[in-house]
Amino acid sequence: MITLLHDYQASRARLFKEYKEVQREKSADPDIQLVCDDSNIFKWTALIKGPSETPYEGGVFQLAFSIPEQYPLLPPQVRFLTKIFHPNVHFKTGEICLDILKNAWSPAWTLQSVCRAIIALMAHPEPDSPLNCDSGNLLRSGDIRGYYSMARMYTRLAAMPKKG
């Protein structure tokens, strides 16, 4: 019980530090906007810009962070709130298949660095461990154009401001 309480306080302190860091370096990474929930420091939201030269370019994707009380010993749970057509993102739940969010997590990572890793994943999909089988199959069969147009379509539909 005491250790649980301590975990809670430790992760709180750590998240508070990260919060201050984010406030201080707001302009450091213009592709990432990390916002903490007003009432709960264990819930965060991030807005990331789709990397250029990918079908996600021009889109803004929302991520939801749910942080365990054992953080940073355990990784945060992250999922896409914005619909995205990507081999490593579940199309319905937005779950992300990324090693650093699972077994390759290190307590030295921060929420900010997780965002960066997700941007990198958008630019470099891993079709061999797909959560979105349709997208993965397109890429694995070499149909780059098919993948690109599908991803582009969903980016336009879901991640870009509606026109008119």
Binding site: A13, R14, Q70, L73, P107, A108
Partner: protein
Amino acid sequence: MGYDAMANDVSAPAISRDLGKKKRANRSAKLKQCKLDARREQWLSQVKNSGGKDGSMGISPALPSPHRTMSLLRHSQAVLERKSLEREVNVGSGLDGSDSDSPAHSPIPIANMHRKGSSSTSASSGCSIGLCSRSVSDAEEDREEEGKGEEKGGVDDWEAVADALSAVVDHTQDKSDSVEKEVCSKKDEDHQNISRGAFRVSEPEPNRIVHRAWRADDASRPQCLPNLSKQRSFPVNMERRFAPSASVHTGILSVPSSCPICVEDFDVTDSSFLPCCCGFRICLFCHKKILEEGDGRCPGCRKQYDRVPCMENGISGVALSFPCRFSRSFSMSLRS
């Protein structure tokens, strides 16, 4: 090789400056000679002790200088004896001219060549080195000499002497019939140097810098001098400065003020605690937690933590830094 060239360049102004001093203080130079003679005797006895006695004075004219063998060691001893003989002749023949105190025959060049450890030192360069170093500071020279005699009496140094002197030996072998002749030739060389020096005296500023630069491995020299040796000596200084705080292993990495995992400030124990050899520091508490509740891997490099970390506390940390420092200084001495 580069050192040689530098020494040759540098020697000229040093001589010209030196010369005036020598003229005026010829008597004191004589006194100094006596002192140095005594010191030479010390040296020779040391050589005899360390190198083993070898009576054969038969010296092959062409020596493979870089070879580090015992035969060379003995050889160097023989050379030294021969040298001292030669020098006596020289001193006896008179302190008459302007450069009667021919530096090639004083023990100092030997000392310098031995420090340099250059295998390709020619007789003339050795001579100019002697001049150069003497002009810097005689007192310093003396100190160095003593230090060398006592501390570094090992095989390495005497090999270096042998290497450096082998060229001289070749030189003397050719003209073994008359030492005087060689002295004359040396004088000629000196005169050439002097004339060069007169030519260069007009720009003393750069000369001064270079002139000190060749004394790279002199521990007592100022650190602010711009040369390569500064880089070489840098890690040593770093070690000396930071050894107590046990941050030797991290090198340039500075000790963070707080734990990157729990963002608590480091206390004294934490800042001397290095759980992983990659240099990633965390506090003791987080380390324990990662071992017990986490995956037991270093957050910095993801390698599995040893159950017994690199350093448990400051004391053993300092103790462990010794082999490291020792090995580094060892390699330094090999290089210099």
